[in-house]
Symmetry: C2
Subunit: 722 residues, 2 copies
């Protein structure tokens, strides 16, 4: 139950498979395209978190030159999926090993030609791709293999690399380029080692590629193979990485694979959730976990995880609240270095957040909605195109989705709760908390007559309703921020440290602390109405209550925008879980009856137009003990990148890629929903396994210890791993 | 200089002439169409302020049956502008007399047929139309005249009158109907009195008309004439008005006209502004004043003036802020009964305003944006159609243009200031003031960190920018409300009356009064920046600063909506005067330099997409002593209904009609701009006459006295009229 396999070759699946068979790490994403694929097939060797801007286009992470390019010629005819229909084709991701394999058989006359290749991104070496390419014949044939570096790369808003230089000898190929905006030097080197009966003949330039011509030593064999090694360096102006690369190559394919597997299997040991009784659920959940593992932001200090992971340039390679709310819990259970980095990333971005707040006239820290390096907000005021006029539509993701700052504090709080690692407070965490609280103090409004503190003019998680007042989710999150500030104040008092008071003083925060002390009692938190339903925002119940399908039947254009002035903007129908997200994040505060009433009200009114939606409803269903509702929503979340059902294009713009927040959401559902994990001072479980699942086993880290948890229908065990 | 005349007959001018040659009073509007015109020609005998709704359509004032219909047949051929091209045609409004006259000559073979008719709406009798119809021939001819009541009337959202009954004898014609929503009984009676050589023969029914056939006594004359009298009654179930009508008719055409003129000339005496040196300006301004006179809301207690006056059903016949801000100053100078009614109208609507506030979750009084009877808000959430999708666009006129309540207090304050008539305070004025102040206390927000009271999420006069924060105009108006409340409190203290305190107590307002006392010091009023420019609202300066013409060149459809998500919504270009309106209303607070800086900044960025715009800029130009800028803006305002340049249709919906706010604005410009009238404890003048104007003479009422003011380039006189 570790293999994701696709059989047969269908051109329309190339893009989806690029995501589905993705390998890599937080330093390097290698899309699951094939050896012979090129620019048009959306090949990408992506450098996550390394951003570049060309002209006025969107900033996005750079795609490096592609060192995977390989193509076969038999009797001077190109034998490739791009030119020929195969008689057999499979593509295969081994999730346990994090390796990709392909096998393709072509029939030429009476001969059958089989191409096999394997690749992996080393878990032990920095940005090292290792592979093997093999060709076999039924009958002897005359062939050549071309393999090298394709430097005519795919970009959404490129080209990002200019001043391209190539360098080669029979020992290595090298292509370097300079990034447009910040002049980063990107260098890709590749080395080919004949493995079985081939020789590297010479080098040639062709169509934006630098290639070796590989020939058989003699054509009397039916099988030929070579290994290849590629390395991508960033800003290595003095070629310091050359030695490292040569050393790695010297270890050879087998040793590198062995080391990689040792390392990667260890990650699985910490991360796997074994499901018994439902193989479909097992494979989907493992696939989600596979993604969360390869995305672990533990390669460099202060890394975080972009909303489309390492699958390319979509969503500008930026980091959204997805990371803190949907992914962090996985890392808190499995990889604390990654978890800490997620917090450190935001601490690094504090200055950017202060600048953003200041731009809008507020004090404190207003974090980027689409965060790139240094907290730079890549989000624009125009994120959608009007299909009727082809004009940009003013959207409010950037300036009104103020909950982002509180989401980060929620993450900080969770991290400290689970690790007791208060060092983060001294490393900028406390300043982060203070600046976020300060921002909300300034953003919010005290309503004199109602004697309460309100948060006006925001956008909640449901992005179809713009500029609403008192979004319940946002208000509850702000209350959490204010309360947590005083919790932390108490903590420092208790340990007799004056760090808190000193920092408050340094930041000129004394008077504001006092004001927050007053206001936090007065934050308006919408209460459940007589039917136990919590109004999503002021006036939501006054909106048209039209059946969502009926409304969507009024669509004139399949891709028209549904939010704002669109079809759903003035109805009670919402894009994604909003109240339900609040109920999940603050689940201790709400009764089962409230959760049930709100699930039943909001779910039929939800379009699930975001991959973040299904898991929150799945968790809600678990909390109301209705696993039958939860299961399909869980499966939807877990398999979004397996089925490839998500949108790939919107108005001509590629928006595909993987959905790690959905992966995280599937994990959340399994752990916090199905097994009912709940951690306060102790570890609690309240199993609510769906009918088909008999047993679930997983590990979590908590307060420096590791536990193995086993859950069955009516029972559970918690065992410390020593 | 009292005549508005049009020569020649052009079909495309029928609608415009309906407005241009309007006669009537606040009880009855008679559009300036001609005797032979019908439904398709937008004939209307409009009953202002009497609203009706059919199904889900917009509520609008009722059009009564048309008693003006008359057509001529010569040798069995219809002789009418609808069937024949005339050789001569003139239509004529005598503004001094408030009479409409038409003369049309047709040529049939060698014969020439001249039709003349005169009509007026009696100033002395309630809803009485009086007319005379005359036909003359060059050669004797055989003819018939049909005259009667056309009950197939034009409606925008009708038909409003059902259960139509006709009744007739040779003495009178009668048509009655019942309104759809509230079952008002509308009855139109008509009487014809032969004047010269004709006889009323018999009655016939034809195409939704009930008609007399009028024949020559003998055909040996070249001239024939009859007088007609028509009366419209509302809910006169027992025919009480019959006697009144018969008495009026008995007086006859000449006497009725004489009485009417006496009365109407008196109005002119109080209202005229004589301009010497510029006849074009004189006639345009007089035309504006003519409209303001016929619209005087002094026919019934608590009347006010709809935004399209009495010209028909457009704008739902509703009352906007136009009345308080653009028209009231005219009545304060000329007709105090009308002025008081404008205030009383809103007092009557206080309950409706409280219901509206409550609907949106606020206390106090939030007045209707489009006010019908009892303060009912006829405005919908969807006022515009998207030309690209044919869907309604969510607009914010109704729920965010909160300045309306303050506009009413500005009017109340002006009324008391100019009359010292504090009786209005006891008649509901004080309660109005308290409830409006209460509304703003609840609507506004105290910003804790900035320590100021802000007004968030509003729409200012510039309706293209929706849901803005701290619109300078709105904030300043709210400050005025709060301040005035305490001025009035002091007033009652001074006169040793406990009426204020008692009412405060009755309304449970004690604590709120205290809160307002605190907040009024803290209201945030945006200050001029280093270039002396006042930002229209928070973030306005961050908007795109694109030349307005360049931007409008991007139009795809001539009628596309420019506000909100439209082409101007995200630019610094505005629909109409906003900051300039504030500068005018609070002109004592601002220096000439500030006015100049803001005029120069905002005027080039203004589309003048509202007829309210030009006059505010004209006044601004006067205040900065640039009469050359002011003059064309003044002329634009004064002649909007003369040129008929305003839009008549929008997306198939008739939106034409007269623009009394522009008339009021023209008057304001003449009096407060050109002559520089300024009234505090005394009357001040600061002449700024445009180059072409040598002298201006007008009367004003102030504190119970009447003054005649004469202004020349460098001098002025103020003379009390005893």
């Amino acid at each position: 139950m570790w293999e994701i396999k696709s059989l047969g070759y269908h051109e329309e699946q190339i893009i989806g498979n690029g995501n589905k068979f993705l390998i890599g790490s937080m330093n390097l994403g290698v899309r699951g395209t094939l050896d012979e694929h090129e620019k048009d097939d959306l090949v990408a060797v992506n450098l996550p978190l390394l951003y570049d801007q060309v002209g006025d286009s969107w900033r996005e992470p750079i795609n490096a030159f592609n060192p995977l390019y390989t193509v076969l010629k038999v009797d001077d005819e190109i034998i490739s999926l791009k030119h020929k229909k195969p008689i057999y084709h499979e593509q295969n991701l081994n999730m346990l090993d994090a390796t990709m394999y392909r096998k393709t058989i072509f029939k030429i006359g009476s001969n059958e030609i089989t191409i096999e290749s394997t690749r992996f991104v080393s878990s032990n070496h920095d940005r090292l791709i290792v592979g093997n390419y093999k060709v076999s014949f039924k009958e002897q044939a005359d062939f050549k293999i071309y393999t090298g570096i394709d430097y005519d790369v795919w970009d959404i808003n490129g080209p990002h690399l200019i001043d391209i230089k190539t360098n080669h000898d029979l020992n290595r190929l090298e292509v370097s380029g300079i990034s447009y905006e910040k002049s980063n030097l990107i260098k890709v080197v590749k080395k080919v080692i004949p493995n079985f009966k081939v020789k590297v003949q010479h080098t040639l330039h062709m169509d934006g590629k630098i290639l070796y011509e590989i020939l058989p030593l003699k054509t009397n064999s039916l099988s030929y193979a070579f290994d290849f090694f590629a390395h991508i360096s960033i800003d290595d102006k003095n070629d310091l990485s050359k030695e490292v690369f040569d050393h790695a190559v010297a270890l050879g394919f087998d040793k590198l694979l062995e080391d990689h597997l040792t390392c990667f299997h260890k990650k699985w040991e910490d991360s796997d959730v074994k499901i018994e009784g439902d193989d479909e659920a097992l494979i989907a959940l493992r696939y989600s976990i596979y993604h969360l593992i390869i995305l672990s932001p533990d390669k460099q200090k202060g890394q975080s995880v972009p909303a489309r992971g390492i699958s390319g340039q979509t969503y500008k390679g930026a980091i959204f609240w997805d990371t803190e709310i949907f992914m962090l819990p996985f890392y808190l259970n499995t990889n604390l270095k990654a978890a800490k980095n997620i917090i450190l990333y935001r601490i690094k971005g504090l200055n950017g957040a202060k600048l953003k707040a200041s731009y809008y006239g507020y004090k404190g820290a207003f974090f980027a909605w689409e965060s790139q390096e240094d907290g730079h907000d890549a989000c624009t005021d125009y994120n959608v195109t009007d299909v009727f006029t082809n004009r940009l539509i003013r959207t409010y993701f950037k300036d009104k989705q103020v909950h982002i700052s509180a989401d980060i504090i929620y993450a900080l709080k969770s991290y400290i709760l689970r690790t007791k690692d208060d060092s983060i407070l001294y490393e900028g965490g406390l300043e982060l908390l203070i600046e976020v609280a300060r921002f909300y103090l300034d953003y919010g409004s005290y309503k004199v007559l109602k004697d309460r503190f309100e948060i006006l003019d925001v956008m909640g998680p449901d992005e179809y309703h713009e500029r609403v007042h008192n979004n319940a989710f946002t208000n509850r999150m702000v209350q959490m921020v204010f309360d947590y500030l005083f919790e932390i104040k108490d903590f420092f008092t208790k340990i007799k440290s004056d760090y808190f008071n000193k920092l408050v003083h340094t930041l000129g925060f004394d008077a504001e602390l006092e004001l927050i002390h007053h206001m936090r009692q007065k934050i308006y938190i919408p209460k459940p109405n007589k039917d136990l339903i919590i109004e999503q925002f002021d006036g939501y119940f006054l909106l048209k209550d039209i059946d969502i399908k009926t409304r969507l039947n009024e669509k004139i254009h399949p891709n028209e925008y549904l939010g704002g002035q669109g079809l759903l903007g003035d109805t009670q129908n919402i894009k994604q879980a909003d109240i339900l997200t609040m109920l999940y994040l603050f689940r201790a505060d709400y009764s089962k009856d409230i959760i049930k009433a709100n699930f039943n009200y909001y779910e039929p009114r939800t379009e699930h137009g975001s991959s973040l939606s299904a898991s929150m409803y799945a968790l809600g269903a678990c909390m109301m003990e209705n696993e039958a509702y939860a299961y399909p929503l869980f499966m939807k979340s877990a398999s979004v990148d397996l089925t490839g059902d998500s949108k790939q294009y919107a108005g001509g713009i590629y928006i595909g890629g993987t959905h790690p927040a959905a992966s995280g959401g599937a994990y959340l559902t399994a752990i916090y929903g199905f097994s009912g994990l709940n951690i306060d001072d102790e570890i609690h479980l309240k199993p609510a396994l769906p009918k088909s699942i008999q047993k679930m086993t997983y590990r979590i880290k908590h307060l420096g210890k590791t536990y193995e948890i086993m859950v069955t229908k009516n029972d559970y065990t918690i065992k410390e791993i020593l």
